[in-house]
């Protein structure tokens, strides 16, 4: 009922506008075409300036409303993100100048040079000097932006510092799984053909690889502050993307092609809660590549803690190997034939 009512109102408004528009045609015939045209021209001329002024006020108001909700006021939560923010501000500053200059000229010219009697347009077909000016100035400006941009780009995509810890993150429809390499600092090999959900091996880890035995699997990502971290990114089914907006980081997760990214968290979750005044604050892991019906719910949580807290947390975690093969866990003491059991399970996995 409500919808019908709304539709009726819209249709009535349409009819009214249409009738007015039709009437204006007749009025212009009565008044004289030329006079009506001039009036139209004047109205549109004023609309040009009105649009410019209202637009500028709108920009200011929009900025006032929403700047506080962007990520800038809280700053970047990673060292590398700060360089991106710097680059962002340089670009905003340069683009703002060009934006205001060109938009003001556009609407001001439109208003100022509207048709008037006894006025002739100025025949001005070309001027090479001007063309050269507005070819070279943008070129120089862009060179500056490119140089800064590439410097940051190569830094961010370059090798991580030597002391970086490693965390593996695997995306699947629709969630994230984390893996820590354990004491040896090396991840056990994976082979997608070893995937075996019922047996608990949903990450398709090759447990025949001894390096997998101390790997820790978690559903939450915990990172120490001020220590560089290198993420190794996998996807199981379709392309996902590990997006970390607070750290200004993002990298696709591509099935069959592991990717990496690294960054240095600089603010703990606890500190960010203070900084934003939001006790609910969490660093969220966002999926940034459309991955199916649950794309919007593919949320992960990342917690940044102090190094001490991190070490404590890590000690509490048990390797996945132990929970999948309880007989191997140190608390159960080593048993005989354990190797053959592993092989047997791995073999069933393949099948």
């Amino acid at each position: 009922m409500k919808e019908l009512f709304l539709a009726a109102i819209v249709i009535i408004i349409f009819v009214v506008i249409f009738q007015i528009a039709k009437a204006s045609e007749y009025v212009s015939i009565l008044k004289g075409e030329e006079k009506a045209k001039k009036q139209n021209n004047r109205i549109n001329g004023y609309l040009m300036v009105a649009f410019l002024i209202a637009g500028m006020i709108g920009l200011w108001y929009c900025n006032k409303l929403y700047y506080g909700k962007t990520l800038f006021p809280q700053g970047s939560a990673s060292l590398e993100g700060e360089t991106i923010d710097t680059q962002m501000f340089i670009t905003i500053a340069i683009c703002a100048v060009i934006f205001f200059l060109t938009q003001i000229l556009l609407f001001w010219f439109a208003f100022k040079y509207q048709e008037k009697d006894n006025k002739k347009a100025y025949f001005f077909p070309h001027n090479n000097k001007l063309e050269i000016i507005w070819t070279t100035i943008p070129a120089i400006t862009l060179t500056v932006l490119i140089v800064f941009g590439l410097k940051f780009w190569f830094h961010i995509t370059g090798d991580p510092p030597k002391n970086a810890i490693m965390v593996e993150i695997t995306g699947h429809q629709f969630g994230w799984d984390m893996r820590y390499p354990g004491e040896d600092g090396i991840f056990g090999k994976k082979n997608f053909k070893l995937y075996n959900q019922p047996a608990g091996n949903s990450l398709a880890v090759d447990f025949n690889d001894p390096e997998s035995h101390d790997d820790i699997r978690t559903t939450e990502m915990v990172l120490p502050v001020n220590v560089p971290v290198k993420l190794v990114i996998h996807a199981q089914d379709v392309i996902h993307d590990v997006g970390l907006p607070h750290f200004r980081m993002k990298m696709d997760a591509v099935p069959g092609t592991p990717t990496t990214m690294w960054f240095t968290p600089t603010v703990t979750t606890a500190k960010m809660k203070e900084k934003t005044g939001n006790p609910e604050f969490v660093y969220e892991i966002v999926c940034d590549q459309m991955c199916g019906k649950g794309h919007f719910s593919m949320r992960g949580v990342l917690t940044v803690v102090t190094l001490d807290e991190y070490n404590k947390w890590l000690k509490q975690q048990k390797p996945e190997y132990w929970s999948l093969f309880p007989d191997k866990a140190p608390s159960n003491k080593p048993q005989q034939n354990s190797d053959s059991t592993t092989t047997a399970i791995a073999a069933t996995n393949i099948n």
């Binding site: 919808e3 021209n41 909700k69 991106i84 060109t102 040079y113 347009a121 069959g256």
Partner: protein, 599 residues
């Protein structure tokens, strides 16, 4: 569809009355399988308008979900059945709508509807030809587009729904029915439809290029052509060289989907099943896709640029400033368009050095774009501007192009793209620069050439209301999205209310959705104006805008063949406005003895 044809029929009936004697044609060969470039242009335009309404309506539906995630709209269930149970669309359907919105608007409206219409309509008229080089291919071009449309429409009605992997249809999502319900059969329809569409586009493009190169009238040298023709010329070249690459990608994807090949698939576990595919690369598809995908955005924008250049000059009563620089920048954009595709893939894990090369080439495009903007501004400078509806739309185009173009400098810079990729910042960027801006180019073109198309004029008041509301609406919709983008809010989310980082934008989303509905309704002012004016508009005069180009030397309702007598000869460029004290000098006017030399 038969409706459309009959609408055109009766419209054309008017225009052809005066030229019945030209040569006898049956009803079908004249109005349906017509080989007259003007009829084909109108067929493209009206099909494009229908698609635009469908595509825009889809965006209204998904904006309802984004703006009012907690409300239900019972009429949606009446419309969409189980896709909107209880009046709330399902996530699967949301993604189908998003995908179809993008596909329809990019391909069917802004490619076929824009360059299909204006290339067909303007090329023969403005270069002085009786028709296209091959009227038959031209006709086939429309009917392949028609077939593509039918296949796409059918895909909307299959049980598992249309393609829903985004208009970029990245595999594996688009390759595996297990991964997405839209990939069960909807994607096959999508690929077949786009395959047909590409054939249509190639037939059209080859025709446009050969017509422009071979059928110019006497005196019409390349550098005397109006900039519309230059824009359409480069558009056709872009299409010819890039669409086949997408076709190959589409065929390979069809193989992967149906024949068990592994071009784009490797190491996949989906829905608990281990797939046998090994050795393929999903990234390979992205390269193939964007090798078309990026030139595609220029295919969309170049015709709009050409139309705008023409209309700005005519209504400023001044020559376009820097004609040669305009052609040069068209050429530069056209060339660079092929060398920047991977800037869509900065975060796919690509080689950083390769990324750097693409940053350099991408940002280079800003130079010819800046040249164009400054030339347009200088064209307005010291003009004597008439605000026809087309002119207001053209000024709107320049404004939108600046706003959207500048954010390209952000996202083209790889370091910034890491933060901005796939956020609302991208949505704001491309909707302003190639979505709404191209639409404004199209509106400008329709308002300007309507008298030539139908021999009648559109209503000015309705046109002004339509353009101003749409321009203001476009900024209200897309400007705030820059801020959500800078907050890291990802694209293509069905619901943000569970995210601590993004839920504070609920109010803004609601505001945007309301504006979307208003702007959508406003478009019907244009549609009513368009169809009403075809039959009931005021009769047009031969040269209503005082323009110099050849199409305005034809009769008010040109028949097949365009000029009743000889094709006129051209003696000058298209921009002699306000020269030597004359308001304008037609291209057909011989150069006088005392006239100031050259342009």
């Amino acid at each position: 569809m038969s409706n459309v044809v009959s609408i055109q029929d009766s419209a054309l009936h008017h225009s052809h009355e005066a030229h019945e004697s030209h040569h006898h044609q049956s009803f079908i060969s004249k109005y349906v399988f017509s080989q007259d470039h003007k009829t084909i242009a109108k067929q493209f335009l009206i099909t494009g308008i229908i698609w635009a309404v469908v595509g825009a309506f889809f965006s209204v539906v998904f904006r309802l979900q984004l703006g009012f995630p907690d409300s239900t709209f019972p009429f949606l269930e009446n419309l969409f059945g189980h896709w909107a149970k209880g009046g709330k669309i399902t996530p699967e359907f949301y993604y189908a709508l998003v995908t179809m919105h993008g596909t329809i608007l990019v391909f069917f409206v802004l490619t076929a509807g824009l360059s299909g219409t204006f290339a067909n309509f303007l090329i023969p008229l403005q270069i002085g030809a009786r028709d296209m080089a091959s009227p038959l291919l031209n006709m086939l071009s429309y009917w392949f587009f028609f077939a593509a449309s039918i296949v796409m429409i059918v895909s909307l009605f299959v049980q598992t729904g249309p393609a829903s992997g985004g208009w970029t249809i990245y595999p594996p999502l688009s390759a595996l029915g297990e991964a997405s319900v839209g990939s069960v059969v909807g994607m096959d329809y999508w690929l077949v439809s786009i395959g047909l569409f590409i054939i249509s586009s190639l037939l059209g493009g080859l025709n446009y290029v050969s017509t422009i190169l071979n059928l110019r009238t006497k005196g019409m040298s390349m550098t005397r052509m109006p900039l519309t023709i230059w824009g359409l010329f480069f558009t056709a070249i872009l299409g010819i060289l890039s669409f086949p690459v997408l076709l190959s990608g589409a065929v390979l994807l069809l193989f992967d989907r149906n024949l068990g090949t592994s071009f784009f698939l490797s190491d996949i576990i989906v829905a608990g099943k281990i797939l046998p595919n090994e050795g393929g690369s999903p990234i390979l598809f992205q390269h193939l896709f964007w090798f078309l995908g990026h030139p595609e955005v220029y295919i969309v924008i170049l015709p709009a640029m050409g139309i705008t250049s023409e209309i700005l000059a005519i209504n400023s009563r001044k020559p376009i400033f820097g004609y040669m620089a305009m052609i040069g920048s068209f050429f530069a954009i056209c060339t660079l368009a092929f060398l920047v595709w991977a800037h869509h893939m900065f975060v796919t894990g690509m080689n950083p050095f390769l990324g750097a090369v693409f940053v350099l080439l991408t940002l280079l495009i800003a130079v010819p774009s800046a040249v164009k903007v400054f030339n347009w501004l200088t064209t307005l400078w010291r003009g004597n501007i008439r605000f026809t509806p087309a002119m207001v739309a053209a000024i709107g185009f320049v404004s939108l192009f600046i706003s959207g173009g500048l954010t390209g400098i952000f996202v083209g810079n790889a370091a910034l793209d890491i933060a901005l990729h796939d956020t609302y910042f991208i949505i704001a960027h491309f909707h302003l620069v190639m979505g709404v801006a191209a639409f404004f180019g199209m509106f400008a073109g329709i308002y300007h050439w309507f008298p030539k198309m139908y021999g009648r004029e559109m209503n000015n008041t309705l046109a002004y209301i339509h353009i101003w509301v749409t321009l203001i609406g476009a900024y209200l919709i897309f400007w705030p999205m820059h801020y959500t983008g800078l907050a890291g809010m990802p694209r293509r989310y069905y619901d943000y209310s569970n995210w601590e980082s993004f839920k504070m934008f609920g109010g803004m989303n609601q505001f945007i959705s309301i504006v979307v509905i208003i702007v959508f309704i406003t478009q019907f002012l244009f549609i009513i104006n368009f169809f009403y004016s075809i039959w009931r508009g005021r009769r047009a005069t031969e040269n209503p805008w005082g323009a110099t180009t050849l199409e305005w030397t034809t009769p008010v309702n040109p028949g097949h063949g365009n000029w009743p007598g000889e094709i006129p000869e051209v003696h000058r460029w298209a921009y002699d406005y306000s020269k030597d004290g004359k308001d304008f000098i037609m291209q057909t006017t011989p150069v006088g003895e005392e006239e100031t030399k050259g342009h």
